[in-house]
């Protein structure tokens, strides 16, 4: 990670997620941004907070059969199924090049057992190119296995504890919206040692092709992202922010600064842009610029001053 030059004048949009100081509060969502190089022709990566890499698993995965994407009203259904080369090949072939990224690089770890999470986290976190780890315990696209962790307080706790034990780097745990009480899960994960929470992963959904009378996705069901889920995601952040004292990375349908501010005012210390990049690759820049103007117009010195401002029950970040 190369440090961005902080702007000498104007409001600061810097933030802190665990031990990670970010010059901008904009992370790029796991699975949506590759490792950054795909988007480098369109946006200055030095202006973004960080990239969350595509989730990696213990063994290589071919991923789900296509089709893997369906466009829905203001949303996107995906069922990629964690296609990745597996941690061995990943460490050997891919990780070295992440050193060149002019922003934070956050590894994402997915698994099918508590042991998977510990194993992959330990190996990935050991690499200098990786600034932090996000624990994807909420992928809805691998049968019910992945999802189960974030929907069950006991499993969520175990996976978090297992990963915590093997790294001192910032540990972000990614929660699922497919629960009745996300605050309860958040509390357990905080207690198990997470440094931050990513809120939220995709909402489970599906679409049917009425011509063929078959599900549109090769995997039958998928995860819904994009503007359609923003109201669901904002509420999830709102509720989690009242329950924990670790920072939140808000996400779900963010395309511009107004969207990002909904999450920040609800209590998120940073945001993540996934599907928004598919609408317009300039989104990271648009969001950062818009946040700066918002603060400047109101003569607010720092983004930190507005975190949780709309949420009377916001517990504050420790």
């Amino acid at each position: 990670m190369v440090e961005n030059a902080a702007s000498a004048t104007g409001p600061s949009i810097a933030t802190r997620i665990g031990k990670l100081d970010l010059p901008a509060p904009t992370l790029m969502g796991s699975g949506c941004y590759g490792s950054g190089e795909e988007y480098a022709p369109f946006v200055d990566l030095a202006g973004i907070g960080g990239i969350v890499l595509k989730s990696v698993t213990r063994f290589p995965r071919l991923g789900n059969a296509p089709p893997r994407l369906v466009a829905t009203p203001s949303g996107l259904l995906n069922a990629i199924g964690l296609q990745n080369p597996g941690i061995d090949a990943y460490l050997e072939n891919d990780v070295a090049k992440f050193a060149e990224r002019p922003c934070a690089v956050i590894g994402s770890v997915a698994g099918f057992s508590v042991d998977d999470y510990a194993y992959v986290t330990e190996r990935l976190a050991a690499r200098d190119e990786i600034d932090a780890i996000e624990l994807n315990i909420s992928c809805p696209n691998v049968g019910s296995e992945g999802e189960t962790f974030a929907c069950d307080p006991g499993l969520a706790e175990q996976a978090t504890r297992a990963a915590r034990r093997v790294t001192a780097k910032t540990l972000i745990v990614k929660l699922s919206p497919n629960v009745t009480d996300i605050a309860a899960i958040a509390r357990v994960v905080e207690a198990a040692g997470a440094d931050a929470l990513a809120v939220v992963n995709t909402v489970r959904g599906m679409a049917i092709d009425v011509e063929t009378a078959k599900p549109r996705l090769g995997n039958t069901t998928g995860g819904l992202s994009g503007a359609a889920i923003r109201p669901i995601a904002v509420l999830a952040v709102w509720e989690v922010a009242r329950a924990v004292k670790i920072p939140i990375v808000g996400q779900g349908g963010i395309e511009n600064a107004r969207d990002a501010l909904e999450f920040i005012l609800a209590g998120a210390s940073a945001v993540s842009i996934g599907t928004g990049n598919f609408t317009d690759p300039r989104a990271p820049q648009t969001v950062a610029d818009g946040l700066r103007s918002y603060l400047a117009e109101r003569r607010i010195a720092s983004l930190r001053d507005v975190v949780g401002k709309a949420n009377p029950g916001f517990a504050g970040v420790r």
Binding site: G34, P41, F42, A71, A89, T279
Partner: protein, 276 residues
């Protein structure tokens, strides 16, 4: 297909002209000087939705001359409908050119181009370049009905021989264009095709039967269009030069194919290398 060297960028374009050659089909001309110069045959662009809230739309680059490109589109859903009603002078942002186009050199000098519907959009630039270098070009062009066979004359004027087919028999061969291709029993040095998936599968079969190699430009729902999301994959032989590097199959993995990204490794693939 060999990876192309053109480097993609975001372009702010302006609608310079438009026509509706058939109901529901639009050709939208855009003032886009840098893009026009950079585009190679078979590449596409991602169009940023003017109102946001949807993923960008993948569209083949139809014409590319001087300071202008054009897109040919069928209004099937919200995004294409929005694009089909853009007024003259409207601003439109798009990023590209993207993807690897056709490998025209590998097609030889007797080339069949096979178009299904607006699949035609990806075949004008190849036709022009093939004809320019002295190849003979045979356009096999199929559509639902005569009225939907747009711009066939444009190809004829360039010097291509045009064979048309309609599902309803209102013009040319009555039936699938791929059956027409098979029936003509002509000799081709190579085939390049673009159109709906069932048609492309048929092209692959006909090509295999005729003993000719075919390049297919695939369509799939895209999200990023730049290879970042792995959403647009197709099964591809591990042996293909286009196969993404996947060092070792997972334990117990018996499948001999990998999932290649249509937007990045494609959109054009050799028919015989696809596992779909």
């Amino acid at each position: 297909m060999p990876a192309l060297e053109t480097s993609p960028a975001i372009h702010r374009t302006v609608v310079s002209d438009r026509r509706e050659p058939a109901p529901g089909i639009s050709v939208v001309g855009l003032y886009a000087p840098r893009l026009a110069g950079a585009t190679r045959p078979g590449q596409f662009a991602m169009v940023v939705p003017p109102g946001g809230e949807r993923a960008a739309t993948a569209l083949g680059i139809y014409e590319a001359q001087g300071d202008r490109i054009s897109l040919m589109l069928v209004a099937v859903g919200p995004r294409t409908r929005e694009l089909a009603t853009l007024p003259l002078g409207a601003q439109l942002d798009l990023f590209g050119p993207l993807g690897n186009g056709f490998d025209l050199a590998a097609l030889g000098d007797e080339v069949a181009l096979v178009a299904g519907g607006v699949g035609l959009a990806s075949l004008l630039l190849p036709a022009r370049e093939l004809l320019a270098r002295g190849a003979r070009v045979y356009l096999f062009y199929g559509a639902r009905t005569a009225g939907a066979l747009v711009d066939a004359d444009l190809f004829a004027e360039l010097g291509a021989r045009v064979y048309v087919a309609t599902d309803d028999g209102t013009l040319g061969w009555a039936g699938y264009v791929t059956d027409l291709l098979r029936e003509t029993a002509m000799h081709f040095s190579g085939i390049a095709a673009c159109g709906p998936s069932p048609m492309l599968r048929a092209v692959a079969r006909v090509a295999a039967d005729l003993g000719v190699r075919a390049q297919l430009s695939l369509e799939e729902t895209f999200a990023c269009g730049v290879g970042a999301c792995w959403g647009c994959v197709v099964g591809l032989s591990r042996e293909s030069a286009q196969a993404p590097r996947f060092p070792a199959p997972a334990p117990g993995e018996t499948r001999d194919y990998v999932h290649a990204r249509i937007c990045k490794e494609g959109p054009v693939f050799w028919a015989h290398e696809l596992r779909w």
